[in-house]
Symmetry: C2
Subunit: 327 residues, 2 copies
DNA sequence: CTGAAAGCGCTTACAG
DNA sequence: CTGAAAGCGCTTACAG
C-alpha cells in the first residue's frame, strides 16, 4: 500500500541511499534532487518512522507522566510542554496514571521501551521506586513540581508563595487564622508551602494559626472545613490549594456565612475559575504554562547532553481579590 | 547497552526464533521455556517496539486528536478513552491542536505516519480537509462530539439536551427568555442543541426567546451578557455551555443582579465546578467519561474490523439546581 | 555526487 | 518443538 524508500528510489532511477541522503539533507545533485522530489510529491511518500527509529536508535519523543488529566495545573503545564516541544520538532507522549503510583513507575519503564528521548515527570511524591526506575532506564528525566537532590527538577517557589500569603493575611489584620494543608508526602505543597506561611506568621507576633489537613479533593475539603467551622470561628481560612479554598467557600455559602464579611478565604494556584466566581478568590498565581515551556526546554537540553541547572525555581505572584476582608 | 533477542537466544542456547515464539505465546518445551525465562528476567530484557512494529506493520496505539487540553469535557473524555484503551492493551497518544484546524489535519497525517491503529477525533467542525485526510490515511477514524454521514461518530444527544432544558425553563414559568448560543459551525452545539431548545419553546405557546451568539470563551460570554443585560431584562438566560453560563453569572454578580431572584441562569455540560459555586448551576449533564470509554471501545472494534454502528448517541441528563427560580 | 552492502531487532513461514 | 533464512524499511559507512 504505502510506498517505501525502495519504490521511490526505483521510480526515480536512483539508489535507496541517495533518496535517504536527500531526505536527510545530504548533498545531491540538482538533477536528482528534482527527480526525487517529484516522485515523493506524486506518491505522497512519508518515511516509516519505525524503520527510522530502529536504525537511529532514538526518537524525538518526550514522554510526560502525569498523575491526573483533570486538573488545571496539569492541563496548563501540558500545554506549555507541548507548545515548546513542538516548536523544537519534538513530540509529546502523555501517560496518565490516575494517581496510581505503580502506574507511574510502569509508565517510566514503558516510555523507556518506546525509546523516548527524555521524560518529564509530574509527580506528587518521589519514592525509592521512582529513583530506581530513573536509574534503570538511563534516559534523561526532569521532575516538575517537586524537587529531589538526585534529580533535575523544576519547581514553583512554594516557600515564597506561602510566605507572601502569610504576610498578606497578617497585613490585612487577621489574627484568628486557620490553615488547611495537605499531606507532607507531597513535599512541595505539604511542607514548603506551609513552611513559608509559618515563617510569615512567626514574624507577626501575636498571630494564632490552627493547622488542619485534608486531601486535594474539593469534596473532602468541604467535609474538613465544615468540621472546623463547627468548632471555631476564624476570621480567615487559608486553603493550601484553590480547590480547598473553593471547598471552604462552598460550605460557607451553605451555612450562610458571608464571604468575606463573616469569613475570609484564600487559596493557592491561580486557577482560571478563581476569578470567575463570586466573590473572586485571593490566591497566589502559579505560572503553569511557563513551567511547561521551561520544562520542555530543559529536557531538550538534557537530551542533547547540554548542561542544565540541577534545580530551577519559578516565581509566583500574590493576587489580592475580593475574598479577603481588611479588618 | 540493551540486550537484543539475539543476545538472549545465544545465552539461552536457542535460536532467536524460539525466543520470539516464547515471547509471543507460541509453544515451546518446558525446558527451553525455563531457560529463556531465566535469562530474560536476569537481563531485564524488553523487546524493541520499533523492530516489532516494523515487522508487524501495526501498533497497538490509538491516536486522539483534541482541540484543547484545558477543558473539562476534553479531560474527562480523555480519561475515559485512556482507561478503556489501557484495559484492552492499547495505548493512547494525544495530539493537542490548540484549536488550530491546520494542526488538526496535520495531526491526522502524523498519526498515520506513526502507524497508529486507529484515530479518535474530537473536533468542533468537520471540513473537506478532514474528510480527505481520513480518506487518505486508510486507518479507522471515530468522530466524537460531532456527527457526519461519512464518518463513524459518537455524539451526546444535543437535541434532547436542548429540548429538556427548554421544557424545564418553560415549566418553571419563564417567558422572557434569552438564549446565548455559539457559531453554527459547531453543529452539535450551535445547531442541534439550539434546535432542541427551540422545539420545546415552540410547544409552549406564548414564550418569547431572544437568541444571541458568543464564543466558547468565558471572557467573551461576559461581554456578550453585559451588552444583553443593558438592553433587556429577561427572567432567565440560557447559556449554550456551562462556561457561558458562568460568564453570565459573573457579570450578574458584578452588576448586583441576584441569582436566581433577579435572574435565572442555566448551562449545558455538567462541569464539576457547576455544583461547587454559589448558587449551584442548573445544567444538563453530559457523560464525558462514559463517552470516552465508548469511543475507545468503538475504535478498537473498528481496528479489529468488527462492525460498529455508524452513529451512537449518548443520553444526557437535566440537573435542576439553585440557579433557576420558579416564577 | 552516487550506489552496493551491511545491519538495526524483530517476526514469520518453512523445513526438519 | 526447534532453527536457518528472509525480510520489514530505513541509515550509514565505504568505495568509486
Amino acid at each position: 500500500m504505502n510506498k517505501t524508500i525502495s519504490d521511490i528510489a526505483q521510480m526515480a532511477g536512483v539508489a535507496k541511499s541517495t533518496v535517504s541522503r536527500f531526505l536527510n539533507g545530504g548533498s545531491v545533485s540538482e538533477d536528482t534532487r528534482q527527480k526525487i522530489e517529484r516522485i515523493i510529491k506524486q506518491y505522497n511518500y512519508v518515511p516509516n518512522t519505525f524503520a527510522q527509529s530502529l536504525k537511529a536508535k532514538k526518537t524525538s519523543i518526550i514522554g510526560t507522566v502525569v498523575p491526573r488529566l483533570d486538573s488545571f495545573a496539569t492541563s496548563q503545564t501540558l500545554i506549555g510542554i507541548d507548545e515548546e516541544l513542538r516548536s523544537n520538532q519534538y513530540q509529546m507522549l502523555i501517560a496518565n496514571t490516575s494517581q496510581d503510583m505503580q502506574r507511574e513507575i510502569d509508565a517510566i519503564y514503558d516510555f523507556a521501551r518506546q525509546k523516548v528521548s527524555g521524560i518529564i515527570l509530574l509527580a506528587a511524591e518521589v519514592t525509592e521506586a521512582h529513583l530506581k526506575a530513573v536509574e534503570d532506564i538511563r534516559i534523561p528525566v526532569l521532575l516538575v513540581g517537586q524537587q529531589h537532590e538526585q534529580l533535575h527538577s523544576l519547581v514553583h517557589n512554594d516557600d515564597q508563595a506561602g510566605y507572601e500569603m502569610g504576610r498578606y493575611v497578617v497585613e490585612q489584620g487577621h489574627r484568628k487564622i486557620v490553615y488547611i494543608g495537605v499531606s507532607e508526602k507531597d513535599r512541595a505543597v505539604g511542607i514548603y508551602r506551609k513552611q513559608g506561611f509559618q515563617r510569615a506568621i512567626a514574624e507577626c507576633g501575636g498571630c494564632e494559626v490552627k493547622y488542619y489537613e485534608t486531601s486535594f479533593k474539593m469534596s473532602e475539603a468541604i467535609v474538613t472545613a465544615e468540621a472546623i467551622l463547627k468548632e471555631i470561628t476564624p476570621t480567615i481560612i487559608v486553603g493550601a490549594t484553590d480547590n480547598i479554598a473553593l471547598g471552604v467557600m462552598k460550605i460557607a455559602f451553605s451555612n450562610k456565612i458571608r464571604i468575606p464579611q463573616d469569613l475570609s478565604v484564600t487559596g493557592f494556584g491561580g486557577y482560571d475559575i478563581t476569578e470567575m466566581i463570586h466573590p473572586t478568590l485571593t490566591t497566589v498565581k502559579y505560572h503553569y504554562l511557563q513551567a511547561g515551556k521551561v520544562a520542555a526546554n530543559h529536557i531538550i537540553r538534557l537530551v542533547k547532553g547540554e548542561s542544565v541547572e540541577e534545580r530551577t525555581t519559578l516565581d509566583v505572584e500574590l493576587i489580592p481579590r475580593e475574598s479577603v476582608d481588611k479588618l
